[in-house]
Subunit: 146 residues, 2 copies
């Protein structure tokens, strides 16, 4: 029912150093210690780590995650602040997915171009190829309009 810091490190891919750092930053407010001073992680702590990972990987800074946790500890008076936070984060994630898909198109164009270039042995030849120019024109460019 309890995990050592090393077991949690293995499970999460974080280092023990990072886990201690997260606790110091207030991200693991329920983490307990044994009588001899060793950290004992519960499944609930793992749940918090899962949420932290989700928010961190979608670009939320640790201090904002900390803010959320502080609101959580404050209780039901902060429910709507927390709801707003998740709604904002949802919008950010959706926007990022859209951006990533656009970036992916650009990278796929580069792959097509370089595959042609490797075949021809020359980037200039690949760029001059009408098929490549057609592909490039099909790209949804970042809006650089004057």
């Amino acid at each position: 029912m309890g995990y050592s810091i090393g077991q949690v490190a293995k499970k999460t891919g974080l280092t023990a150093h990072t886990l201690r750092y997260y606790q110091k930053e207030g991200l693991l407010p329920f983490l307990q210690k044994s009588s001899s001073g060793l950290r004992v992680f519960s499944d609930n702590d793992l749940g918090w780590l899962g949420l932290i990972e989700c928010l961190k990987e979608t670009g939320m800074p640790l201090k904002d995650i900390r803010q959320y946790i502080d609101w959580y500890l404050e209780g039901d008076s902060t429910l709507s602040l927390r709801l707003d936070m998740f709604k904002n984060q949802k919008n950010r994630v959706e926007e990022q997915i859209r951006q990533f898909q656009k970036h992916l198109e650009k990278i796929e164009y580069k792959i097509a171009l370089y595959e042609e270039a490797v075949k021809e042995g020359s980037l200039d030849k690949a760029v001059a190829n009408p098929r490549m120019q057609a592909l490039k024109n099909g790209l949804s460019q970042t809006d650089n309009a004057k």
Copy 2:
């Protein structure tokens, strides 16, 4: 035909500081200066900035972008290295999109939960609601299996 650093800052959303920093880091190898020492950005430089943005926003560190540019400057002998780089980056972006979609599900569950909690005035009540528990069980959890 040429843009000042300030114009490019406005266009790209980067600061003039950042643009100088990028040049110092070798990311703008073709950027010219006027006879009096002012930077003059061409459309080609803007193109490079567009690629830098694409790679940076998809998580590539500047030093790897620099590596790519160095390969570009080396000429056609590095074509396949560059192709591999773009292929790897494509895989990373696809993986990130998958992760984001999983994270999005989790955030959407939190939104549903907190909407219920705000309505009830209590997070505990929302958590106890069977509809919420069903939703939670439907989530594709990060694999925490022992």
